[in-house]
């Protein structure tokens, strides 16, 4: 068969340390994409064998067996069998085993070895096994399995050269005499064999003073575990909003400066306005969230790499079960407090498709950081800064209630969806709790870089396009001299139509107009209201906010302001969220549904708040 470069694939159980081994073998040169037609990540990189031959190394999704129970496992099976479209069958398989968990991991190893593909075994994380008092004999295991067994410690780069040499040798040997498929064993037989082989490979085993057992005694304790988790989450939220602030302000200043510089350099023209008000303002308003996303992901990556994330899922499972979800949904929903886009992307770890869909659909209701500028401006303008209780201000209380409204809304919606659109068996929760481990700086840095890159690429394409389109809608057709450009534009006409629709929930035409550009991102509502009320052209945000607050109070009633806040708790005004939902659900059906139900909910909730406020005489 004529073909491209040699392909080597890493196969193994989840938590075998496959990704760390992959990172160590390929370095930062990795290509991450989706397998065609499915939302399963394909990670590939280049590895130079000791004989100088470059090979493509593919990191397959972790699996417990070749009988797939999830889309991820299905991809692994198909790639190994050579049935995955667009992926050449791997020439050599590297089975990655967790040295401390051989009895379990050898079950999959035997199943893979039965196929008779050229195979090498990596006895990974052998240092952790030694830490637990377990001394292994790779030669004995190799004799049992009939393939080379190489001890490796991915995070310390131990054994990588030997592994490469073994892969090259297996490749050579397969060219001379291809290995033959072996006799097929049933699962109970494989398990018995695995137990025997695992015991045979143990040279000595001292009493198990396992670190993770002692940590779990606190972290999984029914009464101690949850307070520890909540304290940790509190720190994460503090960090997301305080550590990121200076960087966010810096980026904001940078984009303002860039726009000002362009205004000074270029003669006044439509092109200049397109660049400053469309491209820089639009893309810039999204990129300023990069620091927050990086801080949040830093914590999520640390929690994942140390093994704590699975414990968090365990602790939250009971709560999530109440609305028909499982502990696995907790991680994506947590991410969504910074931004729904990475949150929705991380739903891939949820095995149950209905669970995953429900989680995707409710993720936009978690109060993301883009809502904060909107909330901050409206609260500052309309909610008096007085104490309701010692230490608790009314403004902070309103902000807190908006967060709670989103969470409660999401829970209610999940409950309803699990009985209707995503109806099915109540989802279970079965999850291996991996051993605790110290993360390496390199793996963390690589993970952060990959997340940042995905985010920036989206800002550079999708958000760029939307920003330009919105600018065009607001600027064409051109107004006659002396007339208001906004009134003449397509967006202005749409706003006139929209105003009729949103009038019953207390919104005026100015609000209707601001809703159109904020389809790109919610926080754009603030700048577009500022433009509408012609509050100077100062770039000083604080001065502008003060000016805007005065103007808002002149044009809006308190009931309108509260309805506006209520609207933003639910309104799906974020093109990137819709786009990522389309990608993750492979079609327009679910993003369309998401848009529909969230707008309906936003409309109903804003109306409810407005008319309740009117009834209490706040109009």
């Amino acid at each position: 068969m004529s073909r491209g470069p040699t392909v080597v694939a890493l196969v193994g159980n989840p938590n075998a340390g496959k990704s760390a081994l992959f990172n160590a073998l390929t370095g930062a040169r990795q290509k991450i994409a989706n397998y065609p037609g499915v939302t399963v990540e394909r990670k590939a990189g280049r590895l130079l064998l000791p004989n100088g031959e470059p090979v493509e190394l593919v990191d397959l999704p972790g699996t417990y067996g070749l009988e797939a129970t999830s889309p991820d496992e299905e991809v692994t099976r198909r790639v190994i069998m050579g049935e995955q479209p667009g992926q050449a069958q791997p020439d050599v398989l590297v089975i990655v085993l967790d040295s401390s968990n051989l009895e379990q991991h050898l079950v999959l190893a035997q199943e893979v070895l039965e196929l008779g593909r050229p195979t090498v075994v990596a006895l990974n994380m052998i240092d952790l096994a030694e830490r637990d008092g377990l001394v292994l004999d790779p030669a004995a295991l190799s004799a049992e399995l009939g393939v080379p067994v190489i001890p490796t410690v991915a995070v310390r780069r131990r054994g990588l050269g030997d592994l490469g040499a073994a892969v090259a040798a297996a490749r050579e040997q397969a060219r001379a005499a291809p290995p033959q498929p072996r006799a097929h064993l049933l699962l109970p037989e494989r398990r018995m064999m695995a137990r025997t082989m695992a015991r045979g490979a143990v040279l000595s085993e001292t009493s198990r003073h396992r670190l993770h057992a002692r940590l779990d005694r606190v972290l999984l304790h029914p009464w101690l575990g949850p307070p520890v988790l909540f304290a940790l989450l509190f720190i994460v939220f503090q960090a997301v909003f305080s550590w990121a602030k200076p960087f966010q302000d810096g980026l904001d200043g940078l984009f303002s400066a860039l726009a000002d510089w362009l205004r000074g350099e270029m003669p006044a023209s439509l092109l200049r306005d397109l660049l400053t008000d469309g491209v820089i303002a639009g893309v810039g308003s999204v990129i300023v969230f990069l620091p927050q996303i990086l801080v949040l992901f830093f914590f999520i990556l640390v929690m994942e790499a140390t093994g704590y994330m699975a414990r968090a899922a365990f602790l939250m499972d009971r709560l999530m079960a109440g609305v028909g979800l499982s502990g696995r949904s907790f991680i994506p929903l947590l991410s969504s407090f910074a931004c729904a886009v990475p949150g929705i992307m991380s739903t891939r770890s949820i095995t149950d498709p209905r669970d995953r869909l429900t989680t995707i659909l409710i993720a936009p209701m978690m109060t993301c950081s883009a809502r904060l500028p909107v909330y901050a401006v409206i609260i500052a303008a309309f909610i008096p800064a007085r104490q309701v209780l010692p230490g608790i201000g009314l403004q902070g209380l309103v902000l807190f209630l908006l967060y709670v409204a989103g969470i409660v809304g999401a829970m209610v919606v999940a409950l309803v969806f699990r009985r209707t659109v995503t109806h099915g068996e109540a989802s279970g929760f079965i999850m291996e709790l991996p051993k605790y481990q110290l993360p390496t700086v390199k793996d963390l840095a690589l993970g952060l870089f990959q997340r940042a890159w995905i985010f920036l690429r989206r800002a550079g394409t999708m958000i760029f396009t939307v920003a330009v389109v919105l600018w065009l809608l607001l600027n064409f057709p051109r107004a006659e001299p002396g007339k208001d450009q906004v009134d003449a534009s397509i967006a202005g006409h749409i706003a006139n139509g929209l105003a009729v629709v949103v009038e019953p929930i207390g919104f005026n035409r100015d609000i209707a107009l601001s809703l159109i550009p904020s389809m790109a991102a919610r926080e754009v509502a603030v700048s577009s209201l500022a433009t509408t009320y012609a509050v100077g052209s100062s770039n000083d945000d604080d001065a502008r906010a003060v000016g805007l607050a005065t103007e808002l109070k002149r044009h809006w009633s308190l009931a309108t302001a509260l309805a506006f806040l209520a609207w933003f708790v639910f309104a799906p005004q974020c093109m990137s969220t819709i786009a990522v939902t389309r990608r993750e659900t492979n079609g327009w059906k679910w993003p369309a549904f998401m848009l529909g139900y969230l707008f309906a909910l936003a409309y109903a909730f804003a109306g409810l708040v407005y008319w309740t406020a009117i009834a209490f005489g706040l109009g």
Partner: protein, 93 residues
């Protein structure tokens, strides 16, 4: 006795599992994790606050989280801790 009734920390053997009572994919997942007839397990953690769900089970050197509905389908018999020590000592060569 079913697994959810097992006292914490007691080593037990899974005698039988009522597989048809479980969702097929979940049954397959449990089996893949080694939670099958004949396996020796220990219930390590049960519930959060006052809830009795979920459970964490030690099997070999692995800890697996599962729900009470799964545990209820597994019939277990406690085995003495001396046998547990046996299972550790007999692997020493």
């Amino acid at each position: 006795m079913t697994l959810d009734q097992l006292p914490l920390g007691t080593l037990a053997r899974i005698d039988s599992v009522d597989w048809p009572a479980l969702v097929p994919e979940e049954a397959q997942r449990l089996r893949a994790l080694g939670l099958d007839e004949g396996a020796h397990i220990r219930l390590a953690y049960r519930g959060v606050f006052l809830a009795r769900d979920p459970l964490a089970v030690e099997i070999g050197r692995m800890t697996v989280a599962l729900r009470r509905v799964h545990a209820r389908a597994m019939h277990v018999t406690p085995v003495g801790d001396d046998i547990a020590d046996q299972s550790l000592t007999d692997v020493r060569v």
